[in-house]
Structure formats: C-alpha cells, structure tokens
C-alpha cells in the first residue's frame, strides 16, 4: 500500500472532524486498535509435506486457532471455529483433511459451501496448497456445471469433493450407490460459513446433513464434522443442531488486524417537526463520491436490489464523461454468473474502485480486502453487519467503516446505541428442523435413498407414524421388514432447499424485438412487488419498465426506459387460523400460539420521483395471492372502553409498526423473517388482535419465541416510543403520521393498556 492512500483515510477523518456539515452528523466514532498475531508452532504430528507446503508460502508457524483446530481433529472430535474474514480460516479444515489423506490415501472428505460460486473459489485455493505439498491428492468441485465426462472419475477417485447443499440433496445422496468409495471412506465433512444456514434454508440443510449421516452409517463410515462460522451468539448450538452431532467450539482468533475506524453517521434532519431526516441513500451517495475521488477502494452495502441500482446510477454519473469506464459497478443476486466473476476479479485487481452490493458480497466470495465500507442502513442483524464491516481492512493498513442510518426505528436505534453493534453481542442463528413440511419433504427423500425399518428413527425423530401417513398417501409401501418407496417420482427434484418450492421469475429484455435476452431472475415473492406490470426495474443502473408479467409462465418482459422515478408496491394480507396449540390468559386479553394461513396479494404501486422522493402517481396490481401456511403468535384483547373502531385501528397500526421494528432486536432475527398484522375485528374471535407470524411455510420458531417474550417486549417498545424525540410519530417509532390526528399519544396510551401485569395460567 503506498503512503498516499494510507494517509488519505487519515486526512479525510481529520477533515471531517472540523467540517461543519459533516461533523454534526457523526454521532459516534469508535476506533479499534491494531491487533498482534498469536502464533503456535506446527504440530509435531503434522505431515512433512504439509509443513513443506506451508513453509514454501512463508508460513513457519500457525495462528493459534489453526493449531487448536488441528489438535481437535487429531483427537477425533467434531468442531466449529469462529473467525472473521481474512484470518486464514480455511487452514482450520484444509490441514486436518490433507493430513488424513496423507496418512491414509483411501480417506475422503466432502466440503460444503453455501453456493456453487464459493466452492469454485475455494477449489483454486485448495489446489494451490495441494500442489505445494507435492502429494497426489485429487480435489474436484461437483455441481451442476461439472462435465459429465469427469463425474465418474470424481466419484471413484476424488479425495476431496467440493459441493453445495443443493447438489448433495439432489445430485449425490439419491445416487449414493454410485459413490460407494466416497461414503465408505468419508473421514471429514467440512461445512463452511454455517451462519448462512438459517431459517428455512438452514432447516432444509440440517435435513440434508441428517440424510448424509444416514447414508454414511449404511456404508459403515462415521465422519467428523468441521464447521466454520462468522461471529454469532450460538455457533456451537447451531453446528450441533445442523449436524445432530456434538461439537467443540474454537473461538480464539490468532490473526492480526489493522486499525479500524467505525463512524456512526446520521443524516441531517430536514423536517424538524416530523423528525424526517435526509434520505440515507443520498447521504451515502455523497460519502461514496468523496471516497471515490480520493482514490479509496470502497464497498457500499445497500439493503435491496433497488437501492443498489439507484446508488449505481447516481455514482456512475461521476464517470459518465469517461468512455466505457468500469471503475464503479453494482453487484447482486440476479446478475449472471459470468458478470459476477468479472466484477470479483476487477475488485481483486483493483480496477474497480467502488462496488455497490446487496448482502451477496457478505459471504466469502474472494474480492480481496478493501479500504472502506459504507453500510446504507443496518443490515438487519449483527452478524451481517460484522461481515460487511469485515470487507474493509487490509492487514497493515487503516480501514474506514461508515454506518449511515436510515429513518427506520431499527436504524435509528443502532446509530444512537453504537454499543448494540460494537458490544459484541451478536444474534443467535436459529434453524428449525422440526418444521413439519420440511421434515416430511426430507423423510420422503430419505425413504427413497434407503428404506426405513419399523424400528428405525430418522436422526432424532421418531417417524413411524409419519411413515404410516406417507403410506396412506400412496408414497410408501410397508412390507414385513421395511417401508419401501413406491412411486415413480424422484422426490429430490420436487424439493428445493432455497425457497418454499417456488420457481423464479425470469426477466426478459425485449427492447430490441429481434434480440430478446434474459437479463436476470427473481423469486416469486419479490417479483410480486418488483416486477408487476408498469414497475420500473433497475439492472446495472439501467431502467427497465415491466411491460408484461406472465405469472403462469413466470416470465417478466421488460423494455429499457429513461424516467425520473422509481416504483414501490403495497401488499395486502389476509389471515385464517388453522389450529391453536398454546394459550395463556392476561388481564386484558389472551395470547395464543398456533398455525395460520396467510394470503398475500399486492394491491397498488406508487411512482416516486428520484432526489425529492415525491409521490407522483399510482396504479393497481393484478396478481393472484400467494398462500402461506405458517405458525403465529397472536394477542387478542377486549376493546378498551371509549375507543372508536377507527381510532383503535389507527392506534393498532402504530403499535404494530413499533412492534415489528423492535422484534428483531429482541429475538435477533431479520425484520423480513417476521410480520405483524393488526386486526380491529379479528376473523378469528372477533376481538382486536395483533398477529405475529413467521414469513416461512410451516414456521421456523420465531413466533413461538414471541409467545414467551411478549411480556418483555411490550414494555420495551413503550419506552422506545416514549423516548423518541419526534412530536407526532416518525419512521423511528410508530411510522410517520399526520399531525392533526395526534396519534402518537393514542399509541402510547394503548401500549400502556396492553401491559397490565399478567399471570400465566
């Protein structure tokens, strides 16, 4: 790193501290000092070829966490390491795996990465290491891109197979008879970045691992697990839940780190009465421009695809005079893989100076270390925030991390309470393998792979009744000894791990009628609000208008346009209660937990002008509803005396807004994982009711946690709303309100009514 760039972060900081525009917006600066490395010598048992390979890279000793990992592996234990990005974490699994193969060349290992791209990334890294050892060790990626010609070779003689859960689920486990050599000799299963296996996806993966263990047991192997995770609250619990195997936790980190400056930045208030602040997106644009001009390589994180595209559009105007300038790029899901590879390479080589990304770049995609990171709003959970911040910081260099708060309650809470982020209390990552729909899906796959006997358990589950149910559905047939698969279908191909078995909507550009081309894809739920007809869809900074959305065929036809607005859609929700599983009484109402059906349907969209963000028009959206079966906690109460329905409705909307904003703080989940819906006259029971439900089919345990935490939640929300400095309600507490209604007072009144002391019955 040359001195000029190094100084510019420093100079910039000094300049901001005396800048009368910037300084008042900086709520807090926090600097973490340089950290020295903690080393440990090579283990004596480590194979000489590995030692040779490491020494050839100039590595003469290990970081303490790498050594601890090696020792745990040697003692036959499964373990999980937590280490930040760029701490040499891959050696925590490479070393024991290579060791096992050098000790016994028949040994095999599976590496699981959350995405195909990460596996391909890691392969070159691993192969370099293997080459340096000079040993004959074969490692391959096995995924949808693997050429049919070499698949057989991989099955027979690949020592290390790098793949992803989806491929394991549908491409390997159902064909396990072709992988006998691998399953008989499997010593290690490496699962990288386990914190990404959360919610529904994580629950699916937990079952794929259970199926994998079942197949290993059939072939007589009992592999050890090695997991790695970003910093979360419950890595050990997550790893154990994911693998159904006891784990040892390695949480020491011996890697050195450079000096880091964290800036908590709050955009200026533009409407003091409504407590409305300048848009975070615009503020980020200005900050990113300043860093770009100063030659500081920066990653900007934005929460949605739309925001990424908006920021790319804004920033590219900086270089619009240069021909074919590629120094500012966007990056998000929905771009084609080749496009993403080019961008990653550009970042590593330093050609791209600013990249704007969704959380797609949080993961271990190799883009090198950048100098600065700007977060547009709080990413929803602490683990993500740290992953994003970890993108900035070269070892011997200072790094700058700027958190720019949006106007939402959560964003404002974080900017006012930096200790929430800095205080090292990251959230739990939860999975819920008990989800019935997911469990049944994988029970089918497991039955297909290997018939169950009438005495069998499936992992920790007693499943004989469920097998009987599958027999009654005509999928299984029970003979004297086994439950046999009796269908000509291939169950894994009907079960997708990523979304609740929904196919994506393909986006087709028909700007030039003779040259229509696919430019991206999007999940159905997002497509309802982002690809409805007349929506403005942004792709790499180019605006497209959706002309036709063919919902049956899942295709959106778009055409390039040049307009000065973007679109924003609303969704209407309808609820039905299926069953009540738990209930507890309260003085003013009853809290219940059970299963519900949610019907979600988009209603209208608004056109919003760039820069001013004025509403300049709207339209209807005509799409069929999406149905969701999930679990829910709901609180019904008697209508308080003297409240009119309309007032109660408005107040309940305000309370719901506040509840939804703060639930993620208390149960540590993403805001989008849970919904809060108020009904003045509930369809179920006719009383005023707040429904809180999981966003995923079958539920993933979030609303059940709400059932237990309700008593703590309401008082905390009340304090937050009361202490907010706005007069009539603002996005940071109960949502922006019209002043005449004086709703904030009513919301606070209602909140107090809801928190009469309760006793559990």
């Amino acid at each position: 790193m040359n001195m000029l760039e190094k100084q510019s972060i420093h100079q910039l900081l000094d300049a901001w501290k005396v800048d009368e525009n910037r300084f008042p917006q900086i709520e807090h600066i926090h600097t973490t000092e340089e950290k020295e490395a903690i080393y440990a010598p090579f283990p004596e048992t480590m194979h000489s070829s590995i030692q040779k390979a490491l020494k050839s890279r100039g590595v003469n000793q290990l970081y303490i966490h790498q050594r601890l990992a090696f020792d745990s592996a040697s003692s036959g234990k499964s373990y999980t390491t937590i280490t930040p990005t760029a701490s040499g974490k891959s050696l925590c699994y490479h070393l024991p795996v290579l060791q096992s193969i050098m000790e016994d060349p028949t040994s095999r290992a599976i590496y699981l990465f959350p995405t195909k791209a990460l596996a391909q990334d890691q392969k070159s890294d691993l192969n370099n290491l293997i080459e340096a050892t000079g040993e004959e060790i074969l490692s391959y990626t096995y995924d949808g891109d693997t050429a049919p010609g070499i698949r057989q070779k991989i099955r027979k003689s690949g020592h290390i197979v790098l793949t992803n859960p989806d491929m394991l689920h549908s491409g390997i486990l159902p064909h396990h008879t072709k992988w006998v050599t691998l399953f008989e000799n499997l010593k290690y299963i490496v699962i990288d970045e386990i914190h990404t296996y959360k919610g529904v996806f994580g629950s699916h993966v937990a079952h794929v691992i259970r199926r994998l263990k079942r197949i290993c047991a059939y072939y007589g192997s009992n592999p050890q697990f090695i997991c790695t995770s970003a910093t979360i609250k419950n890595p050990k619990e997550l790893a154990e839940n994911l693998t159904n195997t006891p784990h040892e936790l390695i949480n020491q980190n011996g890697a050195p780190a450079g000096r880091k400056h964290f800036i908590f930045y709050n955009p200026p208030i533009v409407h003091p009465v409504f407590n409305v602040r300048r848009s975070a997106v615009l503020e980020v644009r200005d900050l990113a421009q300043e860093l770009y001009v100063n030659g500081i390589q920066t990653i900007v994180f934005a929460k949605s695809r739309v925001r990424v595209e908006m920021l790319v559009t804004y920033l590219q105007s900086l270089v619009s005079k240069k021909i074919n300038d590629q120094t500012i790029r966007g990056y998000r899901g929905g771009y084609l893989p080749s496009e993403r590879r080019t961008i990653e390479k550009g970042l590593r080589e330093g050609v791209i100076r600013t990249v704007v990304s969704t959380n797609a770049l949080e993961l271990g995609v190799d883009i090198g270390q950048l100098q600065a990171c700007i977060m547009t709003g709080y990413p929803g959970n602490i683990a993500s925030a740290w992953q994003q911040a970890g993108r900035a910081g070269r070892r011997q260099d200072e790094a700058l991390i700027i958190y720019v708060a949006g106007s939402t309650a959560l964003d404002q809470y974080v900017v006012k309470h930096p200790e929430y982020f800095l205080g090292q209390s990251p959230e739990e990552v939860r999975i819920h393998p008990d989800n019935m729909i997911i469990l049944m899906d994988h029970l089918k796959c497991a039955s297909f792979e290997l018939p169950f006997s009438p005495a069998d358990m499936y992992a920790e589950f007693s499943i004989q009744e469920l097998l009987a149910f599958l027999e009654s559905e005509g999928v299984l047939l029970k003979t004297s000894e086994k439950w046999h698969w009796m269908s000509d279908s291939f169950p894994a191909s009907n079960i997708s791990l990523r979304s609740a078995s929904q196919e994506n909507v393909i986006i087709i550009d028909q700007s030039i009628p003779t040259k229509t081309r696919v430019i991206g894809e999007m999940d159905q739920y997002s497509a309802m609000t982002l690809l409805h007809e007349e929506a403005i869809y942004l792709h790499q900074g180019t605006q497209f208008q959706v002309e036709i959305l063919d919902w049956e065929e899942k295709k959106a036809f778009v055409r390039e346009v040049d307009v000065d607005y973007f679109t924003d859609a609303n969704i209407a929700i309808e609820l039905k209660v299926l069953s009540e599983d738990r209930a507890k009484e309260a003085d003013i109402g009853i809290l219940r937990f059970g299963d519900i059906i949610v019907l979600a349907q988009p209603t209208i969209f608004k056109k919003i002008k760039f820069d001013t963000h004025d509403n300049i028009g709207s339209g209807q959206i005509h799409l069929p509803p999406i149905e969701l079966h999930t679990s829910s906690t709901w609180f019904s109460f008697d209508k308080p005396d003297g409240w009119k329905d309309t007032l109660l409705s408005d107040a309940m909307t305000g309370v719901s807004y506040a509840l939804h904003a703060f639930i993620p703080l208390f149960i540590h989940c993403d805001a989008k994982d849970i919904h809060v819906v108020p009904q003045v006259k509930s369809i179920h029971g006719e009383k005023p009711t707040f429904y809180m439900y999981d966003s995923y089919p079958g539920g993933i345990g979030l609303s059940e946690r709400m059932f237990d935490l309700w008593n703590e939640l309401v008082p905390k929300v009340t304090v937050q709303v009361e202490s907010c400095s706005c007069m009539h309600g603002c996005p940071a507490c109960i949502g922006a309100q019209d002043a005449e209604l004086n709703l904030k007072e009513e919301v606070i009144k209602l909140l107090h009514l809801l928190q009469v002391d309760r006793h559990v019955v």
Binding site: P174, M440, E449, S487
Partner: protein, 424 residues
C-alpha cells in the same frame, strides 16, 4: 383437506428422542404376500427359499422359432462367424464365457430408490432357448429376487439394448443396496446393441428406440403392447391390489424386447458378414467407417470399395473420400487424387472441406501443381465462409496460411521458370 393442513395436524405425532443406542432389530417372521394364488394362476411360479421368495416365469422357444421375419436358429451361425472372422470386434461373443440376452423393467429412471422388479434373461439350451423372467415378489424381497439370477455365480457376456447406461448400472445399484446380504456381483462383459445399431444406421434411422428398429428392420410389429413408461405404476398396482393382469402384459413387453435383442443381433452380424445390396449406401458406408475406427483398415477398405462399386455417384462420395485417404496412406498418390476428385463431385458439408484440403495437399506436396493447389484452397476458403459464420475460426486461419504459402511457392516457381527461360 390440503396436504399442508394434514401435515399441520400431524405435528403432535412427531416425537424427538435424544440420540440413543440403536435398537437391535428382531428377526421378523416371513409373511407371504396375499396375492400368491392369483399370481400363480396368471402363470407365474412361486419359489420359496429359506430366506425369502420370488416369482418366476419360464418360456421355451424351439430352434425353429421365428420372431418378426428372422429365425432364432440363425444365432449359432452368427456367433460362430464373429468368433472366427472378427475375434476382437465389439459384437463378438467370446467362446470363453457363457452369454445371455438381458432386459430389466424398473420402478423409475434414476436414483437409489428405483427398484428392478423384472429381470428377463434368455439363454441357449439344448435344442432351443429358454427365457427366464424373475419377478420381485414385493419390495422387501430383493435379496432372493437378485440371488435367483446367476450374475454373481460366473462371468458372462450380457447382451442388452442400452444396458451399458441403464440396465447394468441399475443392477449394480440394487446389488449395492443389498450388499450386506448378497455375494459380490461378478464383472461381466457387455454387448450393447443400441451402440452397434447407432454405428450401423446413423443417418438412416431417425430414432433408436428398439420399437422403431423392430418395425423398420426386424419385421416385427407389436400388438397390445404396454408402453414402457407405465411399467412402474403397473408394478405398484399389482403389489397393492394383488391383481396381476397388467403385470403379465409387462412380462410380455419384456419378452418381446428380449426376442428382438436376439434377432437384432443376428441381423447386425449378417450385415457385417455379407456384401449384399439390401441396405442403403449410408448403412454400408457406416459399417466401413466402423471397421476403420476399429483400426481394421483392410476390411474397412473392402467395404468402401463395395460401396463405390455398387451405388450411384451421389451416394458414394463419402466412401470415395475414405478410399482416397486409404490410398494416400498407401502412397498411391495418383489413385488417391482420383478418388478425392470423384468424392468432390457430390460431397457436402464438413467432408467437402476435408476433401478440398486433401486435394490441396496432394497438389502442393506430391504433384507440385501449385495453381491447382491454390484453386482448391481458395474454393475451400469460399465454401468454409458459407458454412461457418465465425470469422475467427481456427480453420479459417489455417486455410489463409496455406493460401499464402502456396502463393509464395507459385511466385518462386514462376520466377525460376522465367530465370531458366532467360538462360536459354
């Protein structure tokens, strides 16, 4: 009630237990299926052994049996011919091991959950052939069912249609699924008649379904045949309902498949054996190319010569091209040149480019006729441009290089000619 709703109601049925010792399975008593009688009445034999049971149907065909328009009695002679004349050809059944014709019916297309429920094996017996069809009594009886075959007893030559990628991998997969209760599967030699049919009739038949070949080549037309894709449902139904009527139709389907394997084998060998004009030039050219790829050059040449001598010019251009190649290799450059020139008259596509290049090479290096070599090269460039729109193709670069080189040689030879003139 929707599937999701049913599942929601079952929630309370799921019990979780901490990981504990695996309960030792009790040896359960062998329960016979309720449909033993109806299946027996339909013509299946019920075989019960110490550890299990299976059904079987045996059908005998005398030597004089005719399937389609081919008699099974020709098989012996076909086998003998291959052994004597082409001992290493892929269609040759070796003397060393016994052989069988084999076809399976399965409960699906891929994956460890797919069962074989019917193994059909046809073998030579004294004065005829015996077809043995083993039927899986129920999905729990795979071990007895698989062990009833002799695939674990001795090495054999197994003749199939698409067996290399389907039937044999399926068999291996089932064996793996029951590996703890079965002896090891032997390694068998395979002859896949789908592969050989593709070699023989490429460009001649549109599809290579056995049914098409039966109708086009074997003179056999199926009546009341069950489509193969219904087999899984039929088997499931037979096991659940006990009614074997449709299952017996699957056995018939399997029987026809296997008989057609025999006659297809006979016909394939006959085509290699006799140079008769019963098929088209394309077929015989295919056969000649096959021998060429098997590195039996002289046999290949005999076939190309047969094609050239017995078919009209528009059908024989490819054969002429290969004859040309052969003669060139034998250093008969003038004859080779004639063959290529003959080929050029009608040939098209990639072959035409090859012919141009061969001619250009001969003219340049052997005949030293540089104007002709240049003409061939330039015609080739023109033709290639029409065929291939890619302006960066490697072929284009090579051709341009060749063109430049010939022009250079042409100029040198002209200069030296003029130089010589002056001297005179």
């Amino acid at each position: 009630m929707s599937y999701e709703k049913k599942l929601m109601q079952m929630k309370n049925l799921v019990k979780k237990k901490p990981i504990e010792e695996v309960v030792k399975k009790e040896e359960s008593e062998m329960a016979l299926p309720f449909y033993v009688e109806p299946w027996k009445n339909a013509g299946l034999k019920f075989i019960q052994e110490e550890k299990g049971f299976y059904f079987v149907k045996e059908t005998f065909y005398p030597l004089g049996h005719i399937h389609g328009n081919i008699g099974l009695n020709k098989l012996q002679q076909a086998i003998k011919f291959m052994q004597e004349v082409y001992p290493t050809h892929p269609l040759t059944i070796t003397k060393e091991s016994p052989f069988c014709f084999y076809d399976t019916e399965t409960t699906g297309l891929k994956g460890a959950g797919v069962l074989i429920f019917l193994n059909g094996v046809l073998k030579e017996v004294e004065d005829g052939f015996l077809l043995t069809q083993f039927v899986l009594a129920d999905p729990g009886q795979e071990v007895s069912f698989l062990k009833a075959t002799d695939f674990w007893v001795n090495e054999q030559t197994i003749i199939t249609y698409n067996g290399k990628s389907f039937d044999l991998p399926q068999l291996l997969s089932r064996w793996t699924m029951n590996r703890n209760d079965l002896p090891r599967l032997k390694h068998h030699h395979q002859i896949d008649l789908m592969h050989s049919s593709k070699r023989i009739w490429k460009g001649e038949l549109e599809r290579f379904k056995l049914k098409q070949i039966e109708e086009m080549k074997l003179g056999f037309k199926r009546e009341n045949d069950i489509p193969g894709h219904l087999a899984p449902i039929i088997y499931f139904d037979a096991v659940k309902s006990g009614n074997p009527i449709n299952l017996m139709k699957v056995l018939k389907h399997n029987e026809w498949d296997i008989l057609s394997l025999v006659t297809l084998y006979i016909l394939s060998v006959e085509l290699l054996q006799e140079k008769d004009v019963v098929e088209t030039a394309t077929t015989y050219t295919n056969i000649a190319k096959w021998f060429r790829d098997l590195k039996t050059m002289n046999t290949s040449m005999d076939w190309f010569t047969f094609v050239v001598n017995n078919f009209s010019a528009e059908e024989t251009s490819i054969a002429y091209y290969f004859v040309g190649l052969h003669l060139k290799r034998a250093r008969s450059y003038e004859d080779s040149l004639k063959a290529f020139e003959q080929a050029l008259k009608e040939i098209s596509g990639k072959y035409r480019i090859e012919v141009y290049i061969e001619l250009a090479k001969l003219f340049e290096h052997q005949v030293k006729d540089f104007p002709k070599a240049l003409e061939m090269t330039q015609q080739c460039i023109e033709y290639e441009a029409k065929l291939n729109k890619d302006v960066q193709s490697r072929l284009k670069k090579e051709l341009t290089k060749r063109e430049m080189r010939i022009i250079r040689k042409l100029n040198i030879s002209r200069e030296s000619a003029e130089h010589n003139k002056k001297r005179i």
